[in-house]
């Protein structure tokens, strides 16, 4: 099989033109997931009556549904019911005026809410209760304790798992292609369908997703360094340490090369 490098490039560029759409599909569910997911985690940790029981059932059940299935169900509901709902509210608009990206945003947000709430709950559970007690003992209120003591620690503990969740989200944005939302994948395939260079199209899409993933991981590892100083010591020490590792690695490599 011949790989058409020019076609990869074309698909890459075409895919990139849809980057804003994909970024919306990442950033909106991520933000909603962080805010609502963390709130749900707190509701469950503080055992708020009714709500905590509800989420204890809803979240595992919902997480058992594959995202494609959920997306298709929402899309069917959207296709069948949007006009009725609009009419019910006396709107003169029709389904043609409602962008189906909202269906994708809804499905992805719900997915993120569930997974982030689990991540945050795990991180919250890992905080020693002495941290709360020390905070109360110096006269801080519950909200102050959460804001100043608990959440900063929780976030830094949760970052590795949040990276996973976000990388999962980036990949999941491509499935909204299935309900006809134009994003990176469908963009990359536009030149392909003209010239039958589908392999190159998917390859280009893969490269874009890969770059996005790397960027997100870099961003998080920056945040992780910023927030987790207290676990490992000062940033300077950490930098020195990694520099040392790097040096010893490279010198070892150099030695090995000299020997061979």
């Amino acid at each position: 099989m011949q790989i058409d490098v020019k076609a990869i490039f074309e698909s890459f560029v075409s895919g990139l033109t849809y980057l804003p759409k994909t970024l919306i599909l990442i950033l909106v569910p991520l933000s909603i997931g962080l805010v609502v997911g963390t709130s749900i985690a707190l509701v469950r940790i503080y055992k708020v009556p009714v709500l905590s029981q509800f989420f204890a059932v809803f979240i595992p059940v919902y997480q058992g549904v594959p995202i494609v299935v959920a997306l298709m169900v929402y899309n069917l509901i959207y296709l069948m019911k949007t006009n009725d709902v609009l009419k019910f509210f006396g709107s003169s608009k029709t389904i043609a005026d409602i962008d189906s990206i909202y269906v994708g945003l809804f499905a992805l947000s719900l997915m993120m809410i569930c997974s982030i709430s689990e991540v945050m709950r795990g991180a919250l559970l890992s905080i020693n209760k002495g941290q709360y007690e020390a905070s109360y003992s110096v006269g801080m209120t519950k909200p102050q304790t959460l804001r100043k003591i608990i959440l900063p620690q929780v976030i830094s503990i949760a970052i590795p798992a949040l990276i996973n969740t976000t990388v999962g989200l980036i990949k999941s944005t491509s499935i909204v292609y299935a309900i006809g939302i134009a994003e990176i994948l469908s963009g990359a395939l536009v030149p392909s369908s003209r010239k039958y260079t589908f392999f190159e199209g998917y390859l280009a899409a893969a490269i874009i997703y890969w770059i996005l993933t790397i960027l997100i991981e870099l961003l998080y590892s920056y945040l992780e360094k910023r927030t987790s100083i207290f676990k490992t010591g000062k940033t300077e020490n950490k930098k020195l340490w990694s520099l040392k590792c790097w040096r010893s690695n490279t010198s070892e490599k150099a030695l090995a090369e000299m020997k061979s």
Partner: protein, 251 residues
């Protein structure tokens, strides 16, 4: 100054505090002794509502709280009159030594940041750790962490500081210096309630010793009375375990 009346507390069917009453005068150092599981920690924790007692009455300074009617505001008021030094330090893991001391001042007491910093620096110097201001708890030894823990309580200038076995988690060679520091707190004239198993320390600093067992105050009095002329059989039995090593010098 500090008065607790008829405190009761059960965990499920386990009655841990059975009608405990206690009176502490201003500037007094009260040491609580007693076997493990006798309710000492629970008593201290009930005093600042880390544990909510089932019934009773607590007065600290001019603040009187009947447990059953205690609202959020009452609890906060009581907590702001007390400091607590924990057995396992419980420093804020995400704050430096200095920030650990500042946090309560700034967030809870609304002391301006600049003043809080000054107070924190001064207190840190006072506990001998001025060079560790920017260290995180994970970078400090147990002894250093407990110094910060004590500084955090002292800096708030509370009406009473509660110490729950402040040296129990320390390496033996570090116990002495922390006890010295607690003595130094005592000489500042701060009212203190100290739960400890350090008998020599208790004899040295206590104005009053309380012996608890099975959720009741068995006996209380001046250190001389409790250590040399205990009246209750349970007190004698408990002290015997500690006093024998001392007598060994005379054998």
């Amino acid at each position: 100054m500090l008065e607790i009346k008829h405190i009761r507390k059960s965990f499920g069917r386990n009655e841990v505090l059975k009608d405990v009453s206690l009176n502490v005068k201003k500037g007094e150092v009260v040491v609580i002794l007693g076997p493990s599981g006798s309710g000492k920690t629970t008593l201290l924790r009930c005093l600042n509502f880390l544990e909510k007692a089932d019934s009773g009455e607590i007065t600290i300074g001019n603040k009187n709280v009947v447990i059953q009617n205690a609202g959020r505001k009452d609890i906060l008021d009581l907590r702001r009159k007390t400091g607590f030094v924990f057995q396992n330090y419980n420093l804020f893991a995400n704050k430096t030594a200095l920030e650990n001391i500042m946090e309560g001042l700034v967030t809870a007491r609304k002391v301006p940041k600049k003043d809080a910093r000054n107070i924190a620096e001064e207190t840190l110097k006072w506990v001998g750790l001025h060079d560790k201001a920017d260290y995180y708890p994970s970078q400090l030894s147990g002894g250093q962490q407990q110094r910060v823990g004590i500084a955090r309580a002292v800096a708030l200038n509370p009406e009473v500081i509660l110490f729950d076995e402040p040296t129990s988690a320390l390496d033996p060679e570090l116990v002495g210096e922390i006890l010295e520091l607690i003595k130094k707190v005592a000489t500042k004239g701060i009212t203190m309630i100290v739960v400890t198993h350090e008998m020599t320390f208790a004899q040295d600093v206590a104005d009053k010793v309380i012996f608890m067992d099975g959720g009741v105050v068995v006996e209380e009095g001046a250190p001389k009375e409790i250590f040399y002329r205990p009246k209750e059989e349970r007190t004698k039995q408990f002290l015997a375990k500690f006093i024998i090593p001392d007598n060994m010098y005379y054998i």
